[in-house]
Symmetry: C2
Amino acid sequence: MKPMPQFANTPEPPYLAVIFSSQRTEGDQGYSSTAERMVELAAQQPGFLGAESARDAEGFGITVSYWTDEGAIQAWKADLAHLAAQERGRSSWYAGFHVRVSKVERAYAMT
Amino acid sequence: MKPMPQFANTPEPPYLAVIFSSQRTEGDQGYSSTAERMVELAAQQPGFLGAESARDAEGFGITVSYWTDEGAIQAWKADLAHLAAQERGRSSWYAGFHVRVSKVERAYAMT
């Protein structure tokens, strides 16, 4: 079977998961390039364990990012480039979103 | 703004989230009709709080279902129609999947 890099290669639980579900507005408005950049930046953060993302043809998407601890999540939320992206997200890119921070307690997979 | 029924209208935390990420195989093979039926059945389960789902054009998808407690998750996992669907998922519909059971500790939204 070919590799499936879209899956996050997370360690044994416990770890944290940030579930970000969002509805995009219409038009790109600079979203795609910033989103790519944010994925690259997040991957460089201490405590980042991986992420998984899917968006459908109607612009509804879910991104789940995985982190070692709450401090890592807070540091990424406060990153300056990420703060600027969050602001554009609220003003332009998203018609709505939910953020849910959760603690993964058990996990299994078929790969 | 139009209603956004794709978002789950979850209560204040804590509650549980089952994060199911999957890569579909090619072709429908009965997947779509069963998936619809499973969403309907899940929504009738005691303890079900809602679900959000997105799948991209390459067949990678994330479904997050929200539940009141671990017993509700276990009961749904053991549902006979769902067990049959899980078996077809493993044998036919999914090239791979991850299941992560997590406890949502805090949440916020822009709607």
